[in-house]
Symmetry: C2
DNA sequence: CGTTATCTTGACGTACATCAAATGTCGTGG
DNA sequence: CCACGACATTTGATGTACGTCAAGATAACG
């Protein structure tokens, strides 16, 4: 049913393709990669649906610190992150900030329940993303039940994450928050070839603080405490090694002191 | 297109109806009512789709205190609340509780991103709800793009609410939390004929506390403080009158002290 | 290699939790 | 109808986890 509309060609090395459609196809290659991971939108799409997606998507870059979604602005575009990472946050009038989540490779960003974004997004590291206009997404959705299904699953998953985070923010102590955070990071895309216990923290301490609802100083102290207790080790500021996973898990659930 | 398969019988008073199909239609009447409100799932459904929905739904009751969704249990059913209200919550092993939301008339409850519920739900008041098996919902979704669309919107709206709540739990002071909560309650279905400034709080103080991430005592003190300042009045424990809406809104956003 | 941002550690203050007791509310049965 | 008991709410007294302020150490960057 999908005959060769020049779908394929999916490796980085095959850049020497001739037909112009190739570029579009290439832009969607990362979606396949995301799909390999758990919750990318593209992961749920069947092969025949990808060309249409590819034809509507453009690849954009953002350097560290670039704010590419502005809370309150008209929600014209959606993004699928294909490289780097981002922080999503909301602000109060006086500048207090709550980071509501981080975006990694495969994340779908920009879902809003009104005409406007309800949060901002800023690149933590140099970033690449697929950009999709609102109208394109609507068109895709109306043509593909699979995509709709997929997006629903993504939204429901995000909702479950948000609920877990509410529990953290409302009821957990600082050490439980940090333990939970470190554990959750182990489930994020990690650089290849590194063993599971070592995790990368691309974000600043202040970002972790605003994500966990405490201050920067408290984050420092708590991470130091975990290290002193031998639960983790800190080779450098942006990496953590989990020495005692089960104890960390127990701490995260508040099972012990 | 759906002829009378003599489905349910659903109203308390009109049990003497003759044509079997009437009951089915009637059972879905409350959906129409929800639709009048903003975010009921049924609200987005076109008339021709309702009979199919009605044929798969059964009406259930729950008395005050009844836990009808158990965190961790297999997610076999979804519910659409048609009367009363409920609290949704998660627990930590040691009993700490975070209420992640309240359900009112029109709420769709039970969305889970795995085979199991990720939260519990308990009736705050005597409750009636439409119950829908997981397989029924899947069947409905596969037949109706409109329903899928609708459910996506509901999920996205819930997500936005959750994000707003994260901001509240992570960064707002107690008085800001209470002000935000009272304001949000003004947007919930209220008993007919009552003027907007008076809001009903069916839940206990302890529920509000677990929703806002503080203690019961702090809730009492803060409500009392708002009353002392003349922002609200408290005719009785389960009702609040907003005397100064703009000041309450300012407090909720942290705009002033 | 200097400049600046980020991180870490310490000293002190405070908003909220905890503990405790009085008061109010509601359902039940005498 | 009223009296009783159980439970919810309110208010007070005290403790503490975390925030705030400040200074120094380390890392990032041009």
């Amino acid at each position: 049913m999908d005959r060769g509309v020049a779908t394929a060609s999916c490796t980085e090395t095959a850049a020497a393709q001739i037909r112009p459609v190739t570029n579009a196809v290439e832009s969607l290659l990362p979606c396949w990669q995301c799909g390999a991971r758990s919750y990318g939108v593209c992961g749920g799409l069947a092969r025949p649906e990808l060309p249409r997606l590819a034809s509507l998507v453009t690849v954009a870059k953002a350097s560290r610190g670039k704010i590419f979604i502005h809370e309150g602005a008209s929600a014209e575009h959606f993004y699928i992150l294909i490289q780097g990472s981002a922080k999503l946050y909301k602000l109060l009038p006086d500048g207090r900030r709550q980071i509501i989540g981080f975006g990694y490779v495969g994340s779908f960003l920009g879902l809003a329940d009104s005409e406007n974004y309800s949060f901002s997004a800023e690149a933590i590291e140099p970033m690449r993303m697929c950009s999709l206009s609102r109208r394109s997404l609507q068109s895709l959705l109306s043509h593909s039940g699979a995509l709709q299904q997929c997006l629903l699953e993504v939204a429901i998953h995000e909702l479950a994450l948000a609920q877990e985070h509410m529990m953290l923010l409302g009821r957990k102590t600082t050490i439980e928050r940090v333990a939970s955070f470190l554990l959750s990071q182990t489930k994020c895309p990690q650089p290849r070839g590194v063993l599971p216990p070592r995790i990368r923290l691309p974000m600043a301490r202040g970002d972790i603080a605003d994500y966990l609802g405490v201050t920067l100083e408290t984050i420092c102290r708590t991470i130091a405490k975990l290290a002193k207790r031998g639960v983790i080790a800190i080779p450098n500021v942006h990496e953590v090694v989990i020495l005692d996973p089960s104890r960390l898990a127990a701490l995260a659930k508040g099972d012990c002191a």
